[in-house]
Subunit: 477 residues, 2 copies
Amino acid sequence: MDKGIAVKKEENFSEWYTELLEKAELADVRYGIKGFVVYREWAQISIEKMFRIYCDALDNYDHMPLCFPTLIPEKNFELESSHVEGFSPEVFWLEKEGDERFALRPTSETAFYQMYSLWIRSHRDLPYKRYQRGSVFRAEKTKTTRPFFRGREFHWIESHNGFESEKKAMKQVMEDMQITKEVLLQRFAIPHIFFERPQWDKFPGAVNTYAADALMGSGKVLQLPSTHYLGTNFSKPFNVKYQSKDGKEKYVHLTCYGPAISRIYGAMVALHSDNKGLRVPFELSPKQIVIIPIRFEKDKNVMKHAKKIERKLKKYSVFIDSREEYTPGYKFNEWELKGIPIRIEIGPKDIEKEQVVIMRRDTGEKETVRLEELSKYVKSIEKEFTENLKKQASTDFDKSIINAKTMQEIKEGIKNDKIVRINIKNMELESLKLAEEIDLLGGEIRGCRIDVKEKPFGKCVVSKEPATRVVYVAKSY
Amino acid sequence: MDKGIAVKKEENFSEWYTELLEKAELADVRYGIKGFVVYREWAQISIEKMFRIYCDALDNYDHMPLCFPTLIPEKNFELESSHVEGFSPEVFWLEKEGDERFALRPTSETAFYQMYSLWIRSHRDLPYKRYQRGSVFRAEKTKTTRPFFRGREFHWIESHNGFESEKKAMKQVMEDMQITKEVLLQRFAIPHIFFERPQWDKFPGAVNTYAADALMGSGKVLQLPSTHYLGTNFSKPFNVKYQSKDGKEKYVHLTCYGPAISRIYGAMVALHSDNKGLRVPFELSPKQIVIIPIRFEKDKNVMKHAKKIERKLKKYSVFIDSREEYTPGYKFNEWELKGIPIRIEIGPKDIEKEQVVIMRRDTGEKETVRLEELSKYVKSIEKEFTENLKKQASTDFDKSIINAKTMQEIKEGIKNDKIVRINIKNMELESLKLAEEIDLLGGEIRGCRIDVKEKPFGKCVVSKEPATRVVYVAKSY
């Protein structure tokens, strides 16, 4: 049957992913502009749910939404020098209107902070916690694009926050990690680790960058939300000041946090899906339950019972697939491909026995359930489903992390698609040397964990001197 | 006090609106690009709620969301000649990348239908009902911009739908009007009339355009959602075909519908707000209840009781304004300016008498309510609030509609900011002549009602011959 995925995830992740997006109708790459794709219904319904979950989480932590223009004047860009240097090569520019040149925003620091200088006045206005949802655009020249993972337009939330001091700003960085955990891990079932990136790999204009890496099925990691402590690097050129309690004018300490929802969607889909097709957490699936009536064309009783079940389960997103032109087997495959969490089969024999057959997409198990037990049983799957996806992904994640004490072990680890823990004397100096050495293998320095202080388990792998930090190395997207 | 609005709505609508947006902190016009403004928190929270309500309504009517790129290739634009002619002057173009030129979408027909030609195959795929939310961009050269009402970037939903026949497509047009009524009238309390526009005022590329006009406080109307029957005007150049039941290849009949949420927000705010400040429907207000504790600095009992009330009403968006640096009077004005539907005052004397004082923003009435009755009373306000806004707006709308039988009456009506009903023989011919004559007065032909067949009440005001249709004339934004 041509509906299924022909390539195995474990054999060729890249082709498997491409086929999954096409066959499950998640993205269409035929739009005609390089790096720009159409997100189809079955993806967009989930993406919209993810946006609502993420925005609600930010609201819960006292952020407020606002909405900036998509265009940024060129003169704003030029105010922070490393920012303009970092982003300029990737900017889409509009044809000039008179003397003015406008960019399609690649990120919105230089839009937000211009206005923050007008809005923030006193210590009473701080903390100032705001976010927006929208599109950003990056004309990446070298890397190959891949729908959701890496494109030239992506859909994200960016949060920009102002504080009185570095200490208060760093508390926000920690809060951002907490929000990431509550949403990414708990709701989207994506295990991840937050790393402090080396200075030479930070966000252009930041003092420090902290980024979440998730492990993809391919053994590569993907950078998901990152949060940045910007210090006063932007507040100085943009003149974002406040009057402190003792009446002094001071610069605001800024942080920014950017969960790219479309990218997280790609990561989530790649992580949980299998060779039968899509799998996403229960609450994110466009439809949660499909009822497949068997031999309903001949036995009118079947549709009657199917509709009864549909009504019984109406608090879920449930529907009956009563298309006559397809066999039950075809329908089974189609809805497994599309990742519907629960399939209910009901035929004349089941009605006689007052039962249904249930297939759950998390474990793949099929079970016969008595009609009177159905609601309870579905409720238990609802509870377990996302938890099961998370467990499976966490197990894979944990298994892929290994320790290495020698250059040989590091290289072998990278070749075998592992996340490699190593000992380093100084993350800036020695890591940079190492980075050059493993570059050809595709290995990258991901940084140090920030949530826990990790104790080195040997000497620095580069300098052979006593190590101070445990650094992670991995291939990445 | 400098917080209040200095200009009266009935005296100078335009300045009043500008002041409202600034003082209630809804929009900031200091962004630095003509026609591009920042939507501030107090507006954006409501706008996001409106998006969710509108998207949910479309989902209820079996539409599905998807998401197209913000850029459209120039060659797509060129496929439908009147469309390209109508929109080209307003397009923002990107600097060329090689030979290719891309537009920031002003609307997405030419993006959607290119893909519809790949996705729609058989009559089984129809009806095909899809929508997206996003930004669109129009470089309007001549008209003055005004935040939310008319800008160069706006935030909207556009729905594009495919059908087997004109008849089925026209049923969709009717359904779009029904959705508009359910959302705009019932949820946002905006009375409106759907008009069939004359041929010379239709959407570029449409067969027919049907648009909702709402009456603003100024006596001018504002075009809100419009829905268009496109016939096969786009499906032919974009090759959107389906195989019918009898095996023939046929062109798909298309319709599109575009509620501009940011514009609707502007209309809603302009419509309901008054000289004290903002008013929006109960469910759309960023905060629904504010509790103002009186003399709480001296009497600790007051905050204890305020918190008790807050807990009691926690199903609403409720908060206590316990800032010590402001007087109760200042707070009253501030939250009236920001349109919080219910204000609860509680002081030592109220505690003694087991009561609170309530001010409701719909009627402006102040009442003493016994504590034990509070929940019930708030619930009744929740029910009545939006209904009251709707009634007030409807009364104004109805009062402003007058009949005119002579050119003199028409001109007087326009001068007096009325919506003028007139009799016309042929909407295309005579209306066009009339349009020229009233142009200098700012009057415009808005079209004929489509929801009801209206019987002429006199002869054609232009030709003096028997009339066939009742046409509406008004000033517009």
